[in-house]
């Protein structure tokens, strides 16, 4: 979307409309205020000195009998133009100062940056007051003082933004082409940092307005007979007990004008795309929209459901009636079983939008079950809902769900505390990115030991001893010393081991591993896989291993669940998968993408075509077999 179109879109929002309205009103006052009311605001009325509210003077009069409201309206011009002038000077000077280190470079550049950093430490008002010592007490001096005071902070902003652009390739290209540095800065750097600078200029103008009022209020700005809002405020302050409106009306004017600039900055920020759009919900909505666009049939459930497993009948013991040749165990002996699991997100209009569409499976004791599927197929959501970690606005429902003898479905009395303990003791989780799944502000050891304190009834020393033991179990060298270190002192592989160690604090009957090796390099990946396998054989812990790497899954797991667009499309033993025996077209397509030693090297690697609908293909297959 182009900037102008985004701007139009932003203006059409209620906030944008309000910003336009406020800016127009302020502009009108600045341009026409003194012309319309200038003379009547200046008219002194000795018969009505310092009066309260009256029909002629809705907010009373000041010490010379002049109308407060009219004076406030007229004062808008001086207050706003002074603030804007200060902003213009300050922002320009700030941009120049911020860009100078890049242009000059070397020692002088570093000195300028150091100067900026020192200047930023001192608040603007303090700087402005100091400068007004030099410049004297007048409106112009106050404007200049405020402009000078905003140079350090604006210079720093410019410098930070410009420095982030400075390292990019097109700058290097300009260097290589011999473009003079100042030209590079003006042509290539400045346009790239323009948007945030504009947004911040609007906010800065609001601050300048308030600072200017503050200086005038102190008597260091506008001097009699001129008046701005700050001046009126200090005059009104002295008559606070006679006519509060004399101080409150210009005060409200300052707040409204300040808010106008804040609004303007906000709307510009949205229009220029400097705001943040990275929320989880936004991502989900985007994902849903993308999927909706790619898969128009997804909305018509009956077509797709026949291929999936959501149409299972209550009591069906195997995950999929059609693809039930996997070695899945019975629910009684299963460590974990779930029937007709659905995860839905509220759509743009609040209607539920299914992300996981009725998945049923069992995990037997000692099994290693892989879940494979493309991104967004619902693998991770399935895992998260097993662990009870789905939060609103996502919604989980299931006909039945059991974990190691406990019913997981919600009962009338809500979420029993007992279940927390059960989960804490029996369930371990390993996540995709070991770099981010440990808390950076806490010692690794404390995070490993936490479960012991929370659910196993251990005291601090016991939990610590057991945690060190577990860290040793996962082969972390010098576990006792490592216990007191922070995650940033660990390597990626060690962090993932620490995560596994934390899961082993209790006696877990199930480890849910969500792509635990994706973020690791191949050697470390092999170590983590070996560790999981060792835990599985030595302790008998079941493992659910989510991955999009079908090669890893077939080598590690005993059984594989294949997910596709929220459906469980295949439940097959790893043996069958290795032998290439798969029923669902998607599984077959997935298998075909795995290169082997005999894959012809001239041919391009096989891939899953974009826009292919394997659900429709499968249902076509069913119809062919059915008659």
């Amino acid at each position: 979307m182009t900037t102008s179109r985004r701007l139009l879109a932003a203006l059409r929002t209620p906030l944008g409309a309000l910003a336009v309205l406020a800016c127009t009103a302020l502009l009108f006052l600045v341009v026409f205020g003194p012309l319309l009311w200038g003379s009547s605001a200046a008219a002194t009325d000795t018969t009505a000195i310092a009066q309260g509210t009256s029909p002629e003077h809705p907010f009373g009069t000041d010490g010379s009998g002049r109308d407060i409201l009219l004076r406030t309206l007229v004062a808008a011009r001086l207050s706003v133009t002074m603030a804007l002038a200060a902003t213009a000077v300050g922002v320009c000077a700030g941009i120049i100062v911020g860009l100078l280190p890049l242009i000059l470079g070397g020692r002088i550049g570093r000195w300028i940056v150091a100067g900026i950093n020192i200047g930023v430490a001192f608040p603007g008002l303090l700087l402005a007051i100091s400068f007004s010592v030099i410049l004297g007490q007048s409106g112009l001096a106050a404007t200049l003082a405020i402009a000078l005071a905003m140079v350090p902070s604006y210079g720093r902003l410019t410098h930070n933004l410009a420095a982030s652009v400075w390292g990019r390739d097109f700058i290097s290209a300009a260097h290589v082409l011999g473009v003079p540095v100042w030209k590079t800065v003006l042509r290539h750097v400045l346009p790239n940092v323009r948007d945030p600078l504009i947004v911040n200029a609007a906010v800065t103008a609001g601050n300048a307005l308030v600072s200017f009022a503050g200086l005038s209020f102190l008597g260091l700005g506008i001097q009699v007979p001129q008046y701005d809002w700050g001046r009126m405020l200090s005059e009104g302050m002295s008559r606070m007990f006679v006519n509060p409106a004399a101080a409150l009306v210009p005060g409200v004017a300052i707040i409204l004008a300040g808010l106008t600039f804040v609004l303007l900055g906000e709307v510009l920020g949205v229009a220029l795309g400097t705001g943040s759009h990275g929320s989880v919900i936004a991502r989900f909505h985007r994902r849903l929209r993308a999927r909706g666009a790619a898969d128009p049939t997804a909305a018509s459930a009956p077509v797709t459901d026949t291929a999936g497993v959501s149409a299972d009948t209550p009591g069906a013991s195997t995950a999929s009636p059609r693809h039930g040749k996997g070695t899945s165990s019975h629910p009684e002996t299963a460590v974990c079983s779930v029937r007709n699991l659905r995860v839905s997100a509220p759509g743009p209009k609040g209607e539920p939008n299914d992300l996981v569409r009725g998945v049923s499976f069992d995990i037997g004791r000692g099994e290693i079950v892989g879940i494979v599927g493309e991104s967004g197929s619902g693998k991770s959501l399935t895992l998260m809902s097993l662990a009870g970690l789905i939060e609103s606005p996502l919604h989980v429902s299931a006909d039945a769900a059991h974990f190691d003898g406990e019913d997981l479905t919600l009962r009338a009395d809500g979420h029993p505390r007992r279940l927390d303990r059960h989960f804490g003791e029996k369930l371990a989780m390993v996540f995709q990115d070991p770099m981010s799944s440990l808390n950076p502000a806490l010692h690794v050891g404390a995070q490993v030991a936490e479960t012991g304190r929370l659910h196993l009834g251990l005291n601090r020393a016991q939990a610590r001893d057991r945690a060190i033991g577990r860290l040793e179990d996962v082969r972390i060298p010098e576990a006792r010393r490592r216990f007191g270190q922070y995650p940033h002192e660990f390597s990626g592989g060690m962090r993932q081991r620490a995560m596994i160690a934390a899961g082993l604090m209790g006696m877990p009957s199930l480890i849910l591993a969500d792509e635990p090796t994706t973020a690791l390099d191949v050697t470390v990946q092999a170590e983590i896989l070996a560790l999981l396998r060792r835990i599985n054989t030595e302790v008998g812990t079941s493992i659910v291993f989510v991955s999009h790497d079908i090669a890893v899954v077939t080598s590690l797991c005993t059984r594989v669940l294949v997910m596709y667009r929220g459906h469980l499309v295949e439940n097959v033993s790893a043996e069958d998968l290795r032998a290439g025996r798969a029923d669902h077209p998607y599984t077959r397509a997935l298998l075909a993408t795995v290169p082997t030693m005999s894959t012809p090297r001239e041919a391009p690697l096989a891939s899953i075509p974009d826009g292919a609908d394997f659900l429709a293909e499968a249902s076509a297959l069913v119809e062919k077999e059915a008659p």
Binding site: A114, S130, G136, I254, Y486
Partner: protein, 340 residues
């Protein structure tokens, strides 16, 4: 600090029990603290130099400006000697430093008493006001921001979020002097509930502190809430939730430390601004601090007093920055590694 070893205490003699001393010597925290301290010293030097130059930079003749336009030449010369402006600049500068270190900053021209007495007599009132307001703003912003962050996480309670953002946006725009005036109106003109002038008892602190703290507090609360939402999205919070703990433990132990670091980094400037804000608040509430003196001394062209007050306020701001830096190190072990 790319070359920094990730395990700074490797050289400890007993790996199981690293001694405090050995870890301190090689710890990046020490070098970081030294660097920060060096920075403060340079800032201090710049501060003193600028406050010295303030008088030199006044256009025209500062002695004439101070004595008044219509003063006879003898009075101007007397004022020149009083201000020390008759000596060469370098000598003046050195004398200024010597006086500063000896605590002798000359006499105030308008008040006819040593400047240092004015500072020591009035600074406590300003410092009290500033530190109480800073502490209250910080604590309440963290509590409120965390609470609203928790309430509105992942798009819940849209109404609450809209209410929160609009109320804090409006309050954050209100400058301290307007907040002061509104409070005077509410608590002195409408209902005579709280004293609005002077420093008499605990009740007299209420309005000035609120006036000073409310705007920065609203701005900080917004920051804290935004940071809370960011932290809540992190993977390690999912890890913590998978361990199943009480919400209190989750927020206090796993969210709060990660929140404080970023919040404090951003809030340094805001807190410095509050120190400057005392000037305005003191003039509204007739607070017997240095705020009232600074305006009088500027208008009265009492240059020795102006210089001393500028240095005083600058020092307090630097002190706040130092406290924030030290707090950051204590809170987040990574600060020392990222800081370069």
């Amino acid at each position: 600090m790319a070359g920094q070893s990730p395990t700074p205490i490797r050289s400890a003699p007993d790996p199981a029990r690293p001694t405090r001393a050995s870890s301190l010597v090689t710890h990046p925290m020490t070098t970081y603290l030294l660097r920060r301290f060096g920075y403060i010293l340079i800032s201090l030097f710049v501060l003193v130099t600028i406050s010295f130059l303030l008088v030199q930079l006044i256009p025209g003749d500062p002695a004439r400006a101070s004595a008044g336009e219509s003063a006879p030449p003898e009075a101007v010369e007397a004022r020149r000697i009083e201000l020390g402006l008759d000596k060469p600049l370098v000598i003046q500068y050195l004398v200024f430093w010597r006086g500063l270190l000896a605590g002798d900053l000359g006499d105030s021209i308008s008040l006819r008493i040593p400047v240092i007495d004015v500072i020591t007599g009035r600074a406590p009132a300003t410092l009290e006001l500033a530190f109480i307001a800073v502490a209250i703003a910080l604590v309440s912003a963290v509590c409120l921001g965390l609470m609203f962050g928790a309430l509105t996480r992942s798009g819940r309670r849209y109404g609450t979020e809209v209410g929160f953002t609009s109320v804090t946006a409006v309050v954050a725009v209100i400058p301290e002097f307007l907040a002061g005036i509104i409070l005077v109106y509410l608590f002195a003109v409408s209902v005579e509930l709280l004293p609005v002038a002077g420093r008499t008892g605990p009740a007299s602190y209420v309005l000035p502190v609120i006036a000073l703290a409310i705007g920065p507090c609203a701005a900080l609360t917004r920051i804290v809430r935004a940071e809370t939402l960011t932290v809540l999205r992190q993977d390690y919070i999912r890890t913590a939730r998978s361990k199943r703990m009480s919400p209190v433990r989750l927020y206090a132990r796993h969210v709060l430390p990660n929140l404080l670091t970023s919040t404090l980094t951003i809030s340094g400037l805001l807190l410095g601004g509050m120190i400057a804000g005392t000037v305005l608040v003191e003039s509204i509430f007739a607070w017997p601090g240095l705020g009232g003196v600074i305006v009088d001394s500027i208008q009265g062209k009492d240059y020795p007093l102006i210089q001393a007050i500028v240095i005083f306020y600058g020092l307090v701001v630097l002190l706040i920055n130092l406290v924030v830096d030290v707090a950051l190190i204590l809170l987040d072990p990574r600060t020392t590694l990222d800081a370069s």
